[in-house]
């Protein structure tokens, strides 16, 4: 009979440990560590001695660092350098979303210490300059040429020349890998870089205004306007819900733009009959909701009356 004898001894051990009274962390939690983002890793390292030791001795959970909301606003330079050092030089991906405090010097230091970085995503890190990014990307491409993708949307002063230099350091697209279109509504719903794979660099030159920006494609297969409406967010207005270019605009309470079709389908405020876009809509009951603006007015009205 086919059995799995060789694995038995170590697994019996596991079983015994599982039977221990609660108090020590379940073995499963040690596997989960590799799936946690930075803030959660810091929390776990404070839970108990064994988890702390595990996190101290293991580089695996620290190889992919992703700092986004809400941790990004709190991320200090010391904090970043500390978490980056945990990977012991084997950091694979670094995603810092809107981390304004980071400057070129720290980025360079991390890149120097971690030559095998494959993903360098720093959208909205306004403390970085195009020159700093170019220096970091150059360092990485000289070491091993492992760098697969970068994201720099939202950095100030990125010119066409910078973009060309950056592209020259990145590996060209392989045959089965194509430049994927970016749709505005998808971009909005996951600002996180984890979900956007397959592009070497997020920004490109807008065909309309020639600025280096995120360029969105129309989500309609054949655009109604029968024109090529690929363009940045400044040149082409797009629906926040479905990503099509919009002619007639439906307005929302949250000041986002939606197409008329989406406007009709969004739930509306019971008083002013205006919708929120889905991103700003908090879960509401089937009886509808009152928007913040009307709610404020009502509170003010009640206060005035009671005065």
């Amino acid at each position: 009979m086919a059995t799995i004898d060789s694995h038995l001894s170590s697994d019996e051990e596991t079983k015994n440990r599982e039977a221990e009274p609660t108090g020590s962390p379940h073995d499963a939690l040690f596997f989960v560590l590799a799936y946690l983002p930075v803030y959660e890793l810091l929390v776990m390292s404070e839970v108990c001695v064994s988890l702390r030791e595990a996190l101290k001795n293991d580089v695996l959970p620290w190889q992919n660092i992703c700092v986004e909301r809400p941790l990004n606003s709190r991320l200090s330079i010391e904090g970043l350098l500390e978490i980056a050092s945990r990977a012991n030089g084997r950091l694979k991906s670094l995603s810092l979303v809107n981390c304004g405090k980071i400057t070129d010097d720290e980025l360079q230091r991390i890149v120097d210490e971690n030559p095998i970085i494959r993903k360098l995503h720093v959208p909205g890190c306004t403390g970085l300059t195009p020159e700093g990014i170019i220096r970091a990307v150059k360092t990485l491409s000289q070491h091993h040429g492992n760098l697969e993708s970068i994201q720099i949307n939202g950095l100030f002063g990125v010119e066409k020349e910078h973009l060309e230099t950056l592209c020259s350091y990145l590996q060209p697209y392989s045959a089965n890998q194509q430049k994927q279109p970016i749709f505005y509504h998808q971009y909005r719903s996951f600002q996180t870089s984890r979900n956007k794979e397959g592009r070497r660099i997020d920004v490109e030159v807008c065909p309309i205004c020639s600025q280096v920006r995120m360029v969105f494609s129309c989500s309609r297969e054949t655009c109604e306007k029968k024109i090529d409406c690929r363009g940045c967010n400044f040149c082409i207005l797009r629906c926040a819900e479905c990503g099509v270019c919009v002619g007639e605009i439906g307005e929302t309470i949250c000041a986002d733009i939606v197409c008329l079709n989406c406007w009709l389908h969004l739930p509306k405020c019971n008083f002013c009959n205006e919708p929120y876009c889905n991103q700003h809509l908090s879960p509401c009951s089937s009886t509808g909701f009152v928007c913040d603006v009307c709610d404020m007015k009502a509170v003010k009205f009640i206060n005035d009356v009671s005065d």
């Binding site: 086919a2 059995t3 596991t14």
Partner: protein, 165 residues
């Protein structure tokens, strides 16, 4: 004999037997390698000594759907359909079972499900405080007060303005 050839029997720790299609069982690396080792032998029973029947059933359910969905949506849409199913699948598993399932899946070496279950547990920890994690997973704080204060100080930057729920 084709009908019996592509079936395999998985035996749980309690001795309960599950007959599974080879297409499903081959997603469990350990079963696959055991069967490869005993190629030629007519006996297709694999004993999973430490895996309880309820976990064997869950794992089979997952991979059965995985294989079916993959066949049905060859041209595309497989990933979305799988996500949908995974959501349903996770809803029927409680916290304690989830942890047991991680251990079972790890033992059987089934990468796709391992990712799913670990991600599910990771979701429970998202944006939570240290105290919450201890309580939720029944972990006793075994740091001394000084140690804890020191660690807290090290990571102070990460906690400013975090809610305690």
């Amino acid at each position: 004999m084709a009908s019996t050839d592509d079936k395999v029997i998985l035996k749980s720790s309690e001795g309960e037997c599950f007959e599974v299609d080879m297409a499903v069982a081959s997603h469990l690396q350990i079963v696959k390698s055991v069967l490869e080792d005993c190629e030629g032998s007519s006996d297709k029973v694999v004993s999973l000594f430490i895996v309880e029947a309820k976990y064997v059933a869950m794992i089979i359910e997952y991979y059965k759907n995985y294989v079916e969905l993959k066949e049905k949506h060859e041209e595309g849409g497989f990933e979305e359909k799988l996500k949908e199913f995974e959501k349903q699948f996770l809803e029927q598993i409680d916290k304690k079972e989830l942890k047991g399932l991680v251990m079972a899946v790890n033992y059987l070496n089934a990468p796709a499900l391992f990712d799913v279950v670990c991600t599910a547990i990771a979701k429970h920890i998202e944006n939570k405080s240290v105290e919450y994690v201890r309580e939720y997973f029944g972990i006793v704080n075994d740091f001394t007060a000084e140690e804890e204060a020191q660690i807290r100080e090290e990571h102070r930057w990460a906690y400013d303005g975090v809610n305690d729920d």
